[in-house]
Point group: C2
């Protein structure tokens, strides 16, 4: 007796209905990427572990899916090494390859390997799955898609402006109302500098990030618990409580950070991005938000994050500027800026708001009922013509009972059923039935084609 099959935890099958929705998401994003001049690349699912290891921190290394070497991977291992049972250490002997953990490191590797054939600035996008051996939980999977667009080889802030426009275009097309939050790593560095706690920048931003959740008092308490002196916490207050329009926020920051060159640079960058966007009539609100501390160990300039306004869910897109993408692979001085769309969360938001277009399924438009050999012989050439006209169509393959064939049409949500019996054959026509209204019409094949 065969065992009942399952799939690895944290992975998913996608049914036809789910696929249609996912394709709608990916196609929409892909079209916008193209509209802005980004070019698609793909990289292999597996990378050498030497490419991946050490890029995502110690925790990330553990979360890499490693692929066992083929052949005799025990050769060269001593008895002592084997009996040490040191899984982490032996993994490096057993495995040379791993599944990609994100699209950024493979992209950096790609840029370095293909530097001679690329023209910079290089605007690339990439839509591929990534794998993480994370503990699976609601909304967190071990295999999931990332949709990334990055520009490398240009320091111009126009890139930041365009990425925000692109976010706005994507969510406008989805019909999802969003707030686009921007911040700047240089402003955060400036803050740490001004209060004399440069090494505490992570602690400070983590605490500021919690303002919404735990309130001001608890943020201040957390800052104190991290060893930040009261004097510094006092200096931080106008920043933690920053409010008003983007202009007002920038004005406050200019005063507080006047003594920090880095901070003032971050303000200037943010000002340029916000002002330029203000002239471009984008639909989403763009808000300077200092509590935004995404990817802090990574980003060096602008930081973006997108929140859906009508659904309670984490950020559905984000990104930022990073100054040394390819340095780790020996190619220095290549600045990049990019954004990433969270397909799984966008999927949930579109579902909750019921925003999928009704024709997203690309399903069968008309099913021809199968009454037997003679009728089928009459139907098949008509069916070929219908398809040649670009209309998705089927004939039920077996001459099963009418009820079964109609159930099939219903299950596939086929909107029209074409019925051809003796009558229709004699008249050279087909009966077309609208499955929603029940209406029937006796029409010629050409009229049928014209009706779609």
């Amino acid at each position: 007796m065969a065992t009942k099959p399952g799939i690895p935890k944290g992975t998913r099958d996608f049914s036809p209905v789910e696929m249609a929705k996912r394709n709608y998401i990916f196609d929409t994003i892909r079209k916008v990427f193209h509209l802005y001049g980004f070019q698609q690349i793909e990289t292999p699912s597996m990378e050498n572990l030497s490419t991946l290891m050490g890029k995502y921190g110690e925790e990330g290394d553990k979360l890499l899916f490693k692929i066992q070497n083929s052949g005799d991977y025990f050769s060269g291992l001593t008895d002592e090494e084997l009996l040490s049972r040191n899984a982490a250490k032996l993994a490096s002997k057993f495995c040379e390859k791993g599944l990609r953990y994100d699209l950024t490191v493979p992209f950096a590797r790609y840029v370095v390997m293909h530097r001679e054939e690329l023209t910079f600035p290089f605007k690339r996008f990439q839509i591929q799955p990534v794998w993480r051996a994370d503990r699976p939980q609601k909304g967190r999977y071990r295999e999931f898609y990332q949709c990334d667009a990055d520009v490398v080889g240009s320091n111009s802030l126009l890139n930041e402006v365009e990425l925000v426009q692109m976010i706005d275009t994507v969510f406008t097309q989805f019909g999802i109302r969003v707030a686009i939050k921007i911040n700047n790593r240089k402003i955060l560095s400036g803050i740490a500098e001004i209060i004399g706690e440069a090494d505490k920048i992570v602690d400070i931003t983590v605490a500021i990030d919690k303002l919404d959740k735990i309130g001001l008092d608890n943020v201040n308490a957390e800052l104190a618990s991290k060893g930040i002196p009261q004097e510094a916490i006092d200096k931080l207050q106008p920043i933690i409580q920053l409010s008003g329009t983007n202009e007002e926020k920038l004005d406050t920051l200019k005063q507080v950070l006047a003594a920090s060159q880095t901070g003032m640079k971050g303000i200037e960058e943010s000002e340029f991005i916000l002002k330029t966007l203000a002239g471009l009539n984008i639909r989403s609100e763009v808000e300077l938000d200092l509590t935004l501390a995404r990817g802090l160990n990574y980003y060096t300039g602008a930081i973006f994050e997108v929140k859906a306004l009508d659904v309670q869910i984490g950020s559905i897109s984000g990104g930022g500027r990073y100054d040394n993408l390819t340095g780790v692979f020996g190619m220095e001085g290549v600045s990049g800026v990019g954004i990433s769309f969270g397909a799984d969360r966008i999927y949930d938001v579109l579902n909750q708001l019921d925003l999928y277009p009704k024709d997203a399924s690309a399903g069968t438009q008309v099913l021809f009922v199968n009454f037997g050999e003679a009728e089928t012989a009459y139907v098949l050439p008509i069916l070929a013509k219908v398809r040649a006209a670009g209309i998705s169509a089927e004939i039920y393959p077996d001459s099963a009972k009418m009820k079964k064939q109609m159930s099939y049409a219903n299950a596939k949500a086929v909107p029209f059923v074409a019925i051809v019996g003796e009558n229709e054959m004699q008249e050279g026509k087909v009966t077309l039935k609208n499955m929603a209204t029940g209406e029937q019409a006796l029409i010629t094949p050409d009229e049928l084609i014209a009706s779609f």
Copy 2:
């Protein structure tokens, strides 16, 4: 000093130009699948090894990429087991998951797991990468895409007919002239039965398959070397040398296989498929070809294979009927029939015949030159309007030298460049330059949009 990065052997990066071509292939196939009422699914890249092992023969098991378990995979292993250094045996202790080897076994697993929610006949397609730890060589990769369409839960030969139509539609759309070869496993079984060598069916078909390459004498010699008696080889001659039209071939077979019920059934099936197709005006030639012995351990009825007529290359598509797809997972009696398109070979054929449509790249249509801040401020709202009209457009992000910006346009094969200097700004116009002809025109932004 960072090491120069590489990628695992047998894997590939796909550049923007390659991606555009690959997307053209996948999009074309996907559209045809939809046209015929097939629905897309996706399954996880990793499956439990219990799902994959034993499905592809002993050789296949070795070619599975296995994924190392996370955590302490040494627990429960004795010193003796470890020191045995038995890689094959220990792999099953170290690994519970593997990368999918094809799309068929995951599909069978999918059908069994989702049987309650599926409506049969279920017409599914799937376009995803698969992985095989094969020795890489020219045209053989360790990661490659399969494009499969299958119908399960229907014994009707109309499915076979439609799959052949689908093959014809796909290659007609590509502009690739092909011969579609069909055979039937039951005919081959009938042949083995008639000559009294039922257990030699594999040897016989393998030998027949070599007719083109090694000639009749060598085929006969090979048959003899496999222990097939001269009397049986004599009986095989009309079959090995079968020629003429499909009708003539079937007539000969009817005589030779008259005593074999199975053989006659195969002839009847082939006759139905060929006759029905003959009335449907398909463009490719369809040929009954008994030397076709693809997937013989697997297929139970019709067998298909597609050869490009104008390029020397192996088969570019193939498939067949298999009677017990899901039995191995405990769900008996589900017949299926399917085809698979070989994307990598189709890619090579389209390249060799230069058949890619010129607009397949979906690249930037117009690049706005960047002359500095004032000009950019003037250009950005125009650029937004151009994109809103669905035209892929960019502005060069830095106000670099004209020559550099033009090189960028050339490298990306951008057909038009828009130039905006003081003159244009004063007149409220842009200069649009055709990069192929060098022609320039001073036009309004609306005229620019209308020109695409």
